[in-house]
């Protein structure tokens, strides 16, 4: 295939992706000329280029589509549901042809006559076609709407042709958004529809425009090249570390090496950013799928998508495509009930499916929630016993949440019948396997009759993960923080008695429960004796790998480090103990331990999980009302900062704090950060420039603020507190670890004085003061 054709294929694919997005949006706002123009452009470009490249079949099909789209664009027809359906078929037809060209280099000898005929039939300005059109849009349409639609379809009609065009445009919009439209997907309540359309349209249009200009200022880069760049940056980071170590003693080099340090950090961040793509790239495929599936399944569903701008590494985005598809299929098939059933249950016949993406620290959480039937825990229990997954006693002990997680077991399906959409029990298994493959976690939460939420926690990037460096058999190993739940230190004097043995199996009593132990040195060098050192400290890393809890005994702990994951060759992957390798800051190589495989290899099973079950139960109680907080100590008092707002925690010398007037600020990479010092910590440290202080950097709306704290204590889930008598939710306090704790009011941190006053001259002011 020549370069020209290849480029044409890539461009056309992009055009069709755009077209698909626009088509599903068009269903909500059939009058949006911007959308129609965009769709027209996509098809037109394909037609133009194909004629040039000599793909006759493609040209013919695109031409037929273009004619129809031309009428739509010029307002000679309305984009009714029937029209959109045919346009979607056109899209599929074009895609199929492109695929054939890509695979075979030619168009093949299929026939598109049927599709072309349908496209042409819709264009026919005959009364028959018009009636069909209007009828198909919706029977429930109000008369006025029909009139309006006809009016648009045939502008030559005499009777109402004097009607103001705005009115004509507004009517069908509202009609199409009416709740009785079975095929409509993401549209809010009818009352808000008009308002929403009005507010959304300019925003969407702006976005479309931004995308238009973006294509001009961007260029396509091979992912392999980006990977290579990432590798080289990793290499550079390493070289930098060595340069820093080598030049530490030389005062002449300090400035240079610091500059190198900064540039390297910036470069690394930029390269990582280049690999990030918005979640909308995957989300945008969903409206079409939901539309098609609702048709097949006879459901009525409104799709809401939130947090589309959240960014994720490209390879991860690619990896969540499948799990997300399965989750959505499941939600539509088993979650949301048919309209009649919903009505019988007293619910809105139209179900709601929400896709939400949100960044939480170094993870992105993607939720798929429906307000459907939910899952019957008892059904899962009996099914699990029937399938021999659980003993009757064990099943009786398990909590609701743990039972729900059983749906991830391969082949487990509670669906009464297998439909061609889902129900074979493969879906959820795929979801879990794929998500775990990329170091993520899946959770399911369901209330019978209320709905189901599937939560996928995905690491921000695959390439860099936080890890704890541990040592064993005089080598360093990296232990991913994701699986680490706690560390237990056993001093030498307790070493002799700390471990209990049960017929050769080492166990440790952790808060009254027995934790199976795995000795890393013995695992790596079979034949070693399992025992703790009585002459120095011992450490147990308590790991939780997909519900398998065990303690890994290591010789010593080193610092936690952000590690760059390097793949291993297949020979070493086959050992089934290491998930990769990494280069540490001191240029040593370390293998990355895979807790899941170690658990399986050593025979740790899910059976010993009462403890986690208990913990989960605690957590699940009033889950919805709970939020995660960073627990800090400010001058002897405990305070909480919402974890979602915490950007990072900085430890720095007091000398870094500067003052504008009497307001403490932090000059952070050229940006000024107001520092809140309610506890008087800074005031107390004043005069001691060497002292280290801790500043929690938080997000407050668009600005960043720093909170000076004495210590960072922990991360905990907080519960709401209610005022006695009124039952009103109290603001500003939360229940953390059974203690009433004040929540730091980030909004209360006053803005920088100079910013309030004179934005233009504030640089000078800051200089003059600082």
């Amino acid at each position: 295939m020549d370069d020209l054709t290849r480029e044409f294929l890539i461009e056309s694919q992009e055009g069709l992706d755009r077209m698909e997005r626009c088509l599903t949006e068009l269903e909500e706002r059939p009058q949006d000329t911007g959308l129609l123009a965009e769709i027209f452009r996509s098809v037109h470009t394909i037609k133009g280029t194909t004629g040039f490249l000599g793909f006759k079949r493609l040209e013919k099909l695109a031409h037929a589509g273009e004619n129809l789209l031309g009428l739509l664009r010029d307002g000679k027809m309305t984009a009714s549901a029937a029209v959109i359906t045919v346009l979607l078929h056109l899209l599929d037809g074009l895609r199929a042809l492109l695929k054939t060209i890509e695979a075979e280099g030619g168009e093949g000898d299929g026939d598109d006559a049927a599709l072309i005929a349908r496209l042409e039939e819709l264009q026919a300005p005959s009364q028959h076609a018009k009636a069909r059109n209007a009828g198909a849009v919706h029977q429930a349409r109000q008369d006025t709407a029909v009139k309006a639609a006809e009016l648009v379809a045939a502008p030559g009609a005499t009777a109402d042709s004097a009607a103001p065009p705005e009115q004509v445009a507004a009517e069908p919009t509202r009609a199409a958004a009416a709740p009785s439209t079975a095929v409509k997907i993401p549209a809010p309540e009818p009352a808000e529809a008009a308002a929403d359309a009005a507010t959304l349209t300019p925003a969407e249009a702006a976005r479309a425009r931004a995308q238009g200009t973006a294509t001009e200022s961007t260029l396509r880069v091979d992912v392999a090249l980006l990977n290579r760049m990432m590798n080289l940056v990793g290499e550079l980071v390493l070289t930098r570390n060595q340069v820093l170590q080598a030049t530490a003693a030389d005062p002449n080099m300090t400035l240079l090496s610091r500059r190198l340090d900064m540039v390297t950090a910036d470069l690394r961040e930029s390269v990582m950013k280049a690999r990030m793509q918005p979640v909308s790239n995957v989300f945008s495929k969903m409206p079409r799928m939901v539309r098609d599936l609702t048709h097949v399944l006879g459901r009525r569903v409104r799709l809401q998508m939130e947090g589309q701008e959240t960014e994720l590494d490209k390879s991860l985005l690619e990896a969540i495509k499948d799990p997300l598809t399965h989750a959505v299929r499941n939600a539509l098939d088993h979650g949301i009930e048919p309209p009649a059933k919903r009505e019988a249950a007293g619910k809105d016949p139209e179900g709601i499916l929400i896709l939400r993406a949100v960044q939480e620290g170094s993870h992105v959480v993607i939720e798929v929630s429906d307000d459907g039937a939910g899952m019957a825990v008892e059904k899962i229990r009996s099914k699990a016993i029937e399938r021999g997954l659980l003993s009757t006693e064990r099943a009786a002990q398990l909590g609701e949440r743990d039972l729900l997680q059983l749906v991830f077991v391969p082949g487990f399906s509670t669906a009464a019948e297998v439909t061609n959409v889902s129900g074979r029990g493969v879906g959820m298994d795929v979801v879990r396997t794929n998500v775990e493959k990329i170091g993520g976690k899946v959770e399911i939460d369901s209330r019978l009759g209320k709905g189901t939420t599937l939560r996928m926690r995905i690491p921000l990037t695959l390439a860099i993960i936080p890890a704890l460096i541990v040592r064993s058999i005089s080598q360093s190993f990296a232990l991913p923080q994701g699986a680490l739940s706690e560390l237990v230190h056993i001093p030498p004097e307790r070493a002799a008695t700390a471990i209990e043995w049960m017929e050769g199996a080492p166990l440790y009593r952790l808060r009254g429960r027995l934790l199976p132990l795995v000795f890393l040195d013995r695992l790596l060098m079979p034949g070693r004796e399992c025992k703790l050192f009585t002459d120095r400290d011992n450490f147990i890393a308590v790991l939780d790998a997909d519900g398998r809890r065990f303690g890994l005994v290591v010789d010593s702990l080193a610092d936690p480090e952000e590690i760059v994951v390097k793949p291993l060759s297949t020979v070493l992957k086959d050992i089934g103990m290491f998930s990769g390798a990494t280069v540490l800051g001191n240029a040593d190589l370390a293998l990355i331990l895979d807790p899941g495989s170690i658990a399986i290899k050593t025979g740790v099973t899910m059976s010993n999980e009462e403890e986690s079950a208990q913990a989960v139960e605690e957590e699940s109680e009033s889950e919805a009302a709970r939020m995660r907080y960073l627990l800090v100590e400010v001058a002897g008092r405990q305070a909480a900062v919402p974890l979602a707002d915490v950007l990072r925690i900085e430890q720095l010398p007091f000398s870094r704090i500067e003052y504008i007037g009497c307001r403490p600020v932090l000059n952070f990479e050229g940006q000024l950060l107001p520092v809140e010092d309610s506890g008087g910590i800074l005031a107390a440290t004043e005069g001691n420039p060497e002292a280290q202080i801790v500043v929690v950097v938080c997000r407050d709306g668009n600005r960043h603020v720093g909170i000076a704290v004495s210590h960072v204590l922990d991360v905990a889930s907080g519960g709401n507190l209610f005022e006695a008598g009124t039952g009103a939710r109290t603001e500003g306090v939360t229940l953390l670890k059974d203690r009433v704790t004040g929540v730091v009011d980030l909004g209360g941190v006053p803005p920088l004085p100079a910013i309030e006053g004179a934005p233009e001259g504030w640089h000078e002011t800051a200089e003059a003061l600082g």
């Binding site: 050992i575 280069v583 240029a587």
Partner: protein, 165 residues
Amino acid sequence: MSTGVSALHRKQKNEALVEVCSVRVGTTLFGIPIQHILEIVGSARPQPVPLAPGFVGGLVHYRGDVLTTVSLRYLLHLPPLDGAQDILVLESAGGCFGLLVDSVGEVLTVSAVDYEPNPSILDERRRALLVGTYKLKDSLLVMLDPERLDPARLDPARPSAAQAA
């Protein structure tokens, strides 16, 4: 495999002169055609990998990647060597890997006329690793084929290794 060898062989027959990098392991002088060599890393100390097959010499850091190395000494049943060794970074169909050798010598230009295939008395194990030899003035230059040294092919746990062995 056989096609690969004969291809290599033919290539060497056709081109009158071949450039070969010589390496020493034990007392033998081995040779690898230079077009297979990406880089030579001097005096490296690979990080051992617990539980890995014996022929794996360990891991080394190479240009931002982590390379698996193959110990030629192990494959030839020679006792392991203490201290740093040289590594040839080789490219094979399965990707890059490192070959641990005692020391890397100079690049020799040899003539295809001096080439001879493996002698029949060579044992199974060596016949699987070696391709043939060039007759130098006062010694033999035993030729290695990077494809046959690829760790993925050497792994006894993998089916493809059965054919290689």
